[in-house]
Subunit: 410 residues, 2 copies
């Protein structure tokens, strides 16, 4: 199917520097997609550290199980991704296929199969056809030409309408370090995880345990704070690889103040990538930020924010550019979290629509209607119960979502 | 807006007998809808018993709070319903308006305001205009002509595309007793409650506590086992009124075996009404039954069934007549309930698609595709973990849902 590009698609892919110690190749199997790469192979420099966060689904795909084991065993050889078939619910053959993929990749990379992370995205339940993947990995075209970030981002896409990348520079001990990432998403996006596949790379010299701590924590407010449709993929994986090529002393303590700039830059990259997933949400026409404050706890604030973000009635109202704040009240009420109607205040952008248990006296529907025509909408909910707060991001629910998803397998 | 009738709309409203001790009147305020009644007034015979179940929203409407108090005080004078404005999040005025509505109704019915249940459905957050309601209640046309079941069902509708009623006859001590009900629903339908407004009436002579026990229990597997869009209304109310006009000894014990026929008949009526809500779900083209078995507990089975029923990806796949069972695996996985991929079996109708952690060896996509063209779809999920089971009902997610809900207030 041909997808219309998201209205949020950037004019061009960002300029992103090479990361010392990371090499990419892409290839085309032709299995599901035509005229685009669908295989990404990455080689990590010897001694790289890798951190990972995976889907919490109780029916994860064989590649997720494989990559979890890789992570436990501190594997750091490289990464193979295929797009088009998720290799999920494919029984014993699914596991065997992952092992084979790792072997093929290891052959090219010159390492052991156990050192190669495997990620697959696409249709669930269909047996993988290994032949075209193997052929693609053995082709000369793959082995002769290294790929750039944009090609890498294209190779991991499924229903994405544009390739997604983000970068930032940090400083550790006066040495500039690079952080670059790519991501693919668009439907079946919800915590936990939100992103189907995200890969972030840095040349910083940071130990695995510190990397893992940073990734896990920042995921909570980035990749796990977005939702397109409340559905959680069986394949979601985010990996953060540090090649340690940068010329500074290794950081081994997450409290080390030398990490401050890096932490900020990594947060920036992860936030940027996660927002790009929402901006390319299936059928998305609006980018919606939901800020909940005054909840009993941060966790309660997150539940309320997600209840709003996942409400089909809220999402369709915003698609219709309708400031239907009554549906926000409904979504707060159904969240199961403590709320008191008469303490609740709701605003769209800077316009307060409701407080003290009723519509704001100076509510001007014409002004708010103009605001609702913007492509970026902020919804603020103040509960007046405590100091818990959380922000999540979502998109509207449009005809485009139905079109894409009622016809995905055909 | 003009709504296309649901493809499940029956040719005509069912034949339903009058219930001895229940009188209806309907009226047109013209406030939101034209050429249709939007006010229902019901008088209950002296000595009637009333049971009720309400939304669990933490931001319920003023009418829900009022009616909960009525129930606590064993009120049994009658019922006033208005459609078009839910009188929710309307502050102190909302409460005052409910009191006024009860007073107006009591004037017509010849009882006290405290004896009249009030239910409102429609837009949230807009102050109620009491004038047209008062005028309608005082009009001669209202007071001179009693309404039938179909008119009563029409009067409580909002985005419903057909009036919904169901009836059954039971026997207590050899005496036939009638059970008749009406319901309105269609969006913002999810447990708990599923129905926005449902009213069931019987002439049986059953005590209030037994009625309440029956209603609460049967709601779990009927009105609370359906979902259109996972959104929970702030106004949901189901009332069951027994006028006690039937000529048999009062039943005061819920274990009384003389209740068996009545319980069955009430279950039939409540199930029929709840299914009609789904069949008129906003944009519904398919009626979907999700049977989950083999879960650790019934509650786990319900969570899994609801996770499937509320998944936008499952609902859009069925809209596209696509047997995308991979999305069922995804929804089981995201439910948070215990499941083991390799014990899971999935069927659509009688066609087993997957078991033993992979696609069924004899899976014939052509046969299943033909099945997916049916208007009624059964999805079976066997978890192989225990004996917990539960069935829920939902509809597909189509362009019609988006059309209705992106444009509801205009």
């Amino acid at each position: 199917m041909n997808l219309k590009p998201s209205p949020f698609a950037p004019k061009c892919f960002p300029e992103m520097p090479q990361i010392d110690g990371i090499d990419f190749w892409v290839a085309e199997t032709g299995a599901k997609y035509k005229n685009r790469p669908d295989i990404l192979l990455a080689k990590f420099a010897d001694g790289s550290a890798v951190a990972g966060v995976f889907t919490k689904s109780s029916a994860p795909g064989a590649p997720v199980e494989w990559s979890k084991t890789c992570l436990q065993q501190a594997a750091c050889g490289g990464l193979l991704v295929n797009a088009g078939n998720a290799n999920v619910f494919t029984g014993k053959k699914g596991h065997e296929d992952v092992c084979e993929m790792a072997k093929f990749a290891a052959n090219v990379l010159g390492c052991f199969g156990e050192d190669v992370y495997i990620c697959s995205t696409g249709v669930i339940g269909e047996p993988l056809d290994l032949g075209p993947i193997k052929t693609a990995l053995q082709s000369n075209s793959l082995q002769n030409a290294q790929a750039d970030w944009e090609q890498a981002a294209q190779a991991i896409s499924t229903t994405d309408t544009y390739p997604k990348g983000a970068q930032a520079v940090a400083e550790i001990d006066g040495v500039p370090v690079q952080i670059c990432g790519i991501v693919k998403g668009s439907g079946m996006i919800a915590p936990d995880m939100a992103t189907m596949l995200g890969f972030v790379f840095t040349d910083a010299n940071i130990s695995q345990s510190v990397l893992q701590g940073l990734l896990s924590k920042l995921c909570e407010t980035t990749f796990n704070a977005i939702t397109v449709d409340s559905d959680t993929s069986t394949s979601d994986t985010v990996l953060l690889t540090a090649t340690k090529a940068a010329d500074h002393g290794e950081i081994t303590n997450i409290e080390d103040p030398r990490l401050n700039s890096f932490r900020q830059a990594l947060d920036h990259v992860m936030r940027d990538l996660s927002h790009q997933v929402i901006k390319d949400g299936e059928g998305a026409q609006k980018f919606i930020e939901i800020q909940v404050s005054g909840a009993v706890t941060d966790a309660a604030a997150k539940n309320i924010a997600m209840s709003i973000a996942n409400s089909p009635l809220v999402k369709t109202a915003i698609a219709g550019e309708d400031a239907n704040w009554g549906r926000i009240v409904m979504a707060v009420g159904k969240s199961g979290e403590k709320a008191e109607r008469d303490k609740l205040a709701i605003r769209f952008g800077d316009y307060v629509l409701a407080y003290d248990g009723q519509r704001a006296a100076d509510y001007d529907e014409a002004l708010v209607s103009t605001y609702m025509k913007h492509s970026d909408i902020v919804i603020g909910v103040e509960l007046g119960m405590g100091s818990g707060c959380f922000t999540v991001w979502t998109c509207d629910l449009t005809h485009g979502y139905i079109e894409i998803n009622a016809d995905y397998r055909s």
